[in-house]
Amino acid sequence: MKTDRLAVVERDAQRVISLFKSRSMFHEVIYTIKDRADGPYLVLELLNPTERFYGIVENISKELVDDNLFAGRVTIKKRFKPPVNRLSLPETALLQKVIAESLTATSSTFGDEYLDRYIRSVSGAEEQITARSNNIVLGRRGSGKSSLLLYAMHKLKEEQTPYTWTTIQTYEGRKDFLVVVDIFLDIVSQLAAKCAGVSLMEMQLILSKLEGFLDEGCTEKQFDVLVPRVRRAFSAVVRGAGQIVLFLDDIHVLHETMQIMVLSKLYSITRDNSVFLKISGIEQLAKNWNASLRKGIETPHDAQVIKLDHNLTMPGKSLDHISSILDARATYCGLPSIGYICGSEVIQRLVWVAAGVPRDALSIFSSAASRAAIKDQKRVSITSVNEAASVMAETKINDLALDASDRKPKIEEAFDVVRKFCISEQKKNAFLVEIGSNGPAMSLVKELIGLRLLHILHEGVTPHQAVRRYMGLMLDYGFYVGIRAARSVDVFQKEPDEIAAKDLRNLPIFPLNLIAPFA
């Protein structure tokens, strides 16, 4: 009889544990069963019980029917026993999983928890992106552009305001005019799904016209004839909904002539129509305005720019932002803070090697945690961060194919020249380039910055004569630390501290003509 009862207790406990595991996402849950005079209780032991975990237990308790011994008898207590190895905790394993899932921000990221789990920017960009205005969000890959757009999208979803979301990656590298038709088709079809009655019928007619253009081909003139009709259809929706917001994520992946074309056509239906554009792109690769043709969207008249990225020019702000993201993810996973599995010096190094890019910092941290765990380290170390940064360098080279596919070979060659200059010749990881000289080569440098291969230390210093200004740049850490260690390199600053002007003035000057052939 006693054995039967124990089996029932264990069976019912396992049912609760299984539900808790699937909802908390822990692969392992430590628990005890307290057999007391008033019956058995199931006590889940967590390192840092938070409202999220109590919410899960509360819901499970409501769902358990009376045939489960633990209906209304499940609780959580803080786990006191200090772990031997903090990196082997289920909480740390969950953190790595959560970080991996959050590396790419898509419209399904975090599901309905998006706004709860969103970490606000340090610059208050959220107020700007939710305003009734056109915005272009600029920053390097991984700086949080898509996350900011998604913040605005989820806010609109809450308010039941119609919006569309277009991932421009689908049309990567396209320079044919039909890409405009494709993008309009995507936008109109999404909006049609939110319409009814006459508006829906009109949207369907427009859709069939656009599909006809795709099948049979069309010229810009033929397309332009349809534009006023699209504008009127949007206007009809606005009359009922107040506004429509169109999101375009990663505009820079289109060929630059088509970026301007798409924005120009979209602006002609949105201007003064309570239809707003929220666009994201890498600053150095996004082209929103052609001044000679006066085509596209001109900033700041037609759209306000939100810059998310300050490279390494504001290291303190980057440190605060990345620390708050890591802390929030750690707490979500049941750790007391990110400091529980690494020291503050590790976070400082992380921010510096990631050059202030949040996604790179998350990715490097997750990889560093895996490396440290394999080596049986108890916490994430600076060495493991350095190694992970080195591996990250490969990813950045791969990103070239995504962000600048047609220019990849030339960019790689130019970067090789800069790398040799730093590591082999000057043996320094930082250098200066003169602003205003050699325009095409400077554009190439800006591309390298946009692709996170170089990072800005200072926007403009005057080391010698006041008339000649120089930009302070740093070669990405991943290319000379960790497994590629070049011990002879004199490393310019290792942590996100304020940069002293005198240190910048002593940096070597990179001759831009060395990369001019690749511009």
Partner: protein, 179 residues
């Protein structure tokens, strides 16, 4: 409910008459019914009296809590018991102020986690306050029990009630009460 739990929830003393809380089962409902009859100044007096009682209930809870905090760690039964009454009376203060409910019935202990929808950390309290109640029953009535039988430790219980009283104080203050 087991016999043990019945015994655990002996009623608090009723208030001495004459008293607003003896005039009906719900003083907010009473106030609503009288609002069309009494002058505004009289309504304000009743409102003030509700607030005064809510503050007094909160202070009663706070007193239990401070007493518990001052107890020696070895007196785990007394600590748990007083911590529970600290939380229970703070919850009564919220209910009286919000919905006008005031009860001296034993069954009111079952509502230890009955809090307004907007109350912070509601899931934490929904799980932990009933747990503290079960521990209080064990501490007060189970002569065979030992400290290790508690579902949450004395330290955790103290942290829980500290946070709860702080949340209750903020909530009542946000409603215009001066504690």
């Amino acid at each position: 409910m087991s016999r043990r739990q019945d015994r655990a929830t002996s009623p608090p003393l009723p208030v001495k008459t004459p008293h607003l809380l003896n005039a009906g089962s719900n003083c907010r409902k009473l106030l609503a019914e009288l609002s069309g009859i009494l002058p505004a100044s009289a309504n304000e007096l009743i409102e003030d009296e509700i607030n005064r009682n809510a503050i007094a209930l909160f202070k009663l809870g706070e007193g239990h809590f401070l007493f518990a905090k001052g107890l020696n760690k070895a007196l785990w039964r007394q600590k748990i018991s007083r911590l529970y009454y600290g939380a229970y009376n703070a919850r009564r203060a919220i209910n009286l102020h919000g919905s006008g409910k005031y009860s001296v019935d034993v069954s009111d202990h079952k509502n230890i986690d009955s809090l307004p929808g907007s109350f912070p950390n509601s899931s934490t309290y929904s799980v932990q306050l009933p747990t503290l109640r079960n521990d209080r029953n064990l501490a007060d009535y189970d002569h065979e029990a030992v400290e290790a039988d508690l579902l949450i430790s004395v330290e955790d219980a103290e942290d829980l009630v500290t946070q709860f009283l702080s949340d209750v104080a903020n909530y009542l203050t946000s409603k215009g009460l001066t504690l």
